[in-house]
């Protein structure tokens, strides 16, 4: 067991433990905090995989921005320990949890059965043609940049457009409710 | 009644709306302030200059001949708003040299400095000009007992002040001329 393995187990415990504690917390604020711990653990796992950019995005976007917003909303709405405990919600979330764990176990079993095919790197051998040279896959920022803005330009634009549509929808919904209150 | 003039507020210019020139002006002001002479006093080393009518700790004073001025009339005890003064009146012995024209003197005179509010009423009311609020301002002690000034302490703090009237001398003179009171 070398250093990297040791660190892997530390951070894996951190992320899985954080996730479990999040699920079992009664109060939503500690739950949100454990979710942050879990996300930081995942970011550390990315670092071990030498995907620094992904790790930093994980911290910057999820732990840094999204969870601050979560906490902000939780604190502002003052959700108590009994928030979201209706039996239907409980049942649905329990069911979804079991389904996802089942899927995870299945996929792990699949990898275990056929190690050679599933564990290979994503197929990027065709290369991205930028400036006449083919890029070798790596986790560097440059690759992400060229990948996003050269090869996957259209999907990126489409997803951006989808997000824009979602935002416009939110604006319209919130406008409508306030207008109906006035009437 | 003066005519009310309504001033038109000028719209802010672009540079004013960014607030940056104003911030720079403010920064300049504070920066020049850094090098001005300091106005604070380094207290234990430098003492403040007290105004002539300063009201410090109340004290008992003697006249220039070194005689006790207080006649224990108890007016100050009566007027004292926080009841800080307590006087035990006593008489001056008949044979006391230099004091034969004085009937009374305080046997004990206590001012409780934990009660005193430095109002100066005692000084104002005293018919003998025997009690003064002088320049002592940093009176402190470790116990409550220490904060009660007895007669000896009050005279020690008070000392001697110049006297314009020399009342005892006048009384003595009057008596010698056969015209007491």
């Amino acid at each position: 067991m070398n250093m990297v393995d040791f660190l892997f187990y530390v951070f894996a415990t951190l992320s899985v433990g954080g996730g479990l504690l999040m699920v079992f917390s009664r109060h939503p604020v500690p739950a949100a905090l454990f979710m942050i711990v879990s996300m930081v653990g995942v970011a550390a796992l990315f670092v071990i995989l030498e995907a620094f950019f992904l790790a930093i995005l994980q911290v910057l976007v999820y732990a840094g921005a999204v969870m601050v917003l979560f906490l902000f909303i939780i604190m502002l709405l003052d959700v108590g320990p009994e928030g979201g405990k209706a039996w239907r919600v409980k049942f649905l979330s329990g069911f979804m949890g079991i389904v996802f764990v089942g899927l995870l176990v299945l996929s792990l079993l699949d990898i275990g059965l056929d190690r050679s095919s599933s564990l290979a790197w994503p197929a990027l051998e065709e290369g991205v043609m930028v400036n006449g040279e083919s890029l070798v896959f790596s986790a560097s920022v440059k690759n992400f940049g060229y990948g996003l803005f050269a090869k996957y330009m259209l999907p990126l634009q489409v997803s951006g457009f989808l997000l824009l549509a979602a935002m416009v929808g939110v604006i319209i919904l919130s406008k409508k409710s306030s207008a109906s209150e006035e009437v | 009644m003066a005519k009310t003039v309504v001033l038109e507020r000028k719209p802010l210019s672009l540079s004013e709306r960014t607030y940056l020139p104003q911030i720079l002006t403010g920064l300049k002001t504070t920066f020049t302030n850094m090098f001005k002479e300091k106005v604070t006093l380094q207290y234990p080393e430098e003492k403040p200059v007290l105004p002539p009518n300063y009201r410090g700790v109340p004290t008992l004073v003697k006249d220039p001949n070194g005689r006790e001025k207080c006649v224990s009339c108890q007016l100050c005890e009566f007027v004292c708003p926080p009841k800080a003064i307590r006087i035990t009146p006593g008489s001056v012995p008949e044979d006391h040299e230099d004091r034969e024209h004085v009937e009374k003197a305080p046997q004990e005179f206590e001012i409780n400095m934990l009660r005193c509010i430095y109002c100066g009423y005692c000084e104002e009311v005293c018919p003998e000009e025997a009690i003064f609020l002088q320049n002592e301002y940093s009176f402190s002690g470790y116990t409550r007992d220490e904060m009660i000034n007895d007669k000896a302490k009050l005279y020690e703090l008070g000392g001697t002040l110049p006297d314009d009237h020399y009342k005892w001398d006048k009384k003595k003179e009057a008596e010698e001329k056969g015209n007491p009171h």
Partner: protein, 375 residues
């Protein structure tokens, strides 16, 4: 666990350097507290702390009284005071999170400095390495990410105190962070564009790359004054310094998030605030003020040996200290914003300005790079 001697030595050296750096930053934070007190005193016509003495130093003829007058030993006294004060924990707090909050506030401030270059080491064979704990390819993103975690300390403190003023402080802080992080990130994008123009071969996301590009051309504050201004304002907001000290605001929230804190826990919050300022100043120095290069446009006048690297570090520290002074200077000049003014400035003014700035530099950079592309 297998650890050979080489790995151990490497880890040990890194550990030592990290300790040194933490020591340096903490000392600077302590002395920024002193500087704050002194500068505020001078600006208000006072003299500031000048009473603390060490047993023997005060008897040195001229130096002793001079140091005493400067209040050089005041940080020691302040720190000891925090250590020996009575530890009061109010009965209504949420203990675990209450104890955790000061640490959560301090750790990000100390973590950001791992990717902070502060000088250059010239090797005998002519190579030069930046002096840095970890030369990350995405250093600036790392700093943005980790410093955004600093808000949790304040939010946790506000929430675990179970008391209304700290709670309001925590809420305000999170809203402020979200608002200004956007402007901060957007103000940095033109910098990335400028530094990583095609052909420069520099990685714009690492601070060393940015400093190197400034050595080649000129300081980025001259090239991109608007970006620098937005970044500086956002930096003030992110470090909760005075025009933006919403979470603290003594006048309307008692003490804000640290109302219920006392003794050493409060001390940690205090040090964390100043550590944020120190690291923030250093980052601004590296990105916009040319790092350890002394003049814009001119190459460093010193030789490329140990003397040069020492002078470079000194230059970097001087700029950082001047910037810390600027932070203090602003604090004692401007009044605090109202909460709605902070939100207005962040969303209505800074964000559009940052966007316009970004578009302008996108067009400018693409126009400047035109001949290069056609060649």
């Amino acid at each position: 666990m297998m650890l050979d001697a080489e790995t151990l030595q490497l880890v040990g050296m890194k550990f030592l350097f990290a300790l040194l750096m933490v020591g340096a930053v903490m000392t600077m934070a302590g002395y920024s507290v002193l500087a704050e007190r002194k500068v505020s005193a001078w600006m208000q016509g006072r003299v500031g702390p000048n009473r603390t003495v060490l047993p023997y130093v005060q008897y040195i003829p001229i130096l002793g009284p001079f140091l005493r007058g400067l209040g050089i030993f005041q940080p020691l006294a302040d720190g000891l005071k925090f250590l020996f004060k009575e530890e009061i924990v109010p009965g209504h707090v949420n203990k675990l999170y209450y104890y955790m909050a000061p640490l959560v506030a301090l750790v990000p401030a100390l973590t950001t400095m791992t990717v902070l270059p502060f000088g250059e080491f010239f090797h005998d064979n002519g190579e030069s390495f930046p002096l840095i704990l970890a030369d990350l390819e995405v250093g600036i993103l790392f700093i943005l990410a980790v410093s955004s975690l600093g808000v949790y300390g304040i939010v946790l403190a506000g929430w675990s105190s179970n008391s209304k003023y700290p709670f309001l402080g925590g809420i305000r802080s999170s809203a402020q962070m979200i608002s200004y992080e956007l402007a901060m990130g957007l103000s940095l994008l033109p910098v990335f564009l400028w530094v990583s123009e095609p052909g420069s071969g520099l990685s714009a996301l690492s601070l060393t790359g940015i400093v190197a590009s400034q050595a080649e051309s000129t300081w980025l504050i001259i090239v991109q004054p608007v970006s620098a201004l937005i970044f500086l304002i956002a930096l003030f907001a992110e470090t909760n310094r005075l025009p933006f000290d919403m979470p603290e605001s003594e006048t309307d929230l008692v003490g804000g998030f640290h109302t219920e804190y006392g003794s050493f826990k409060f001390g940690i919050f205090f040090v964390a605030e100043y550590a944020h300022i120190v690291v923030g100043s250093a980052i601004f120095t590296a990105i916009f003020l040319g790092g350890w290069h002394v003049f814009p446009w001119v190459a460093d006048p010193w030789p490329e040996n140990w003397l040069g690297s020492l002078l470079g570090v000194g230059c970097f520290l001087t700029k950082t200290v001047l910037l810390i002074f600027f932070f203090i200077w602003i604090r004692w000049t401007l009044p605090r914003f109202r909460y709605d003014q902070v939100m207005h400035l962040g969303w209505v003014r800074l964000l559009p300005l940052a966007l316009v700035n970004l578009v302008f530099y996108v067009i400018l950079v693409s126009w400047l790079d035109q001949p290069v592309a056609t060649n």
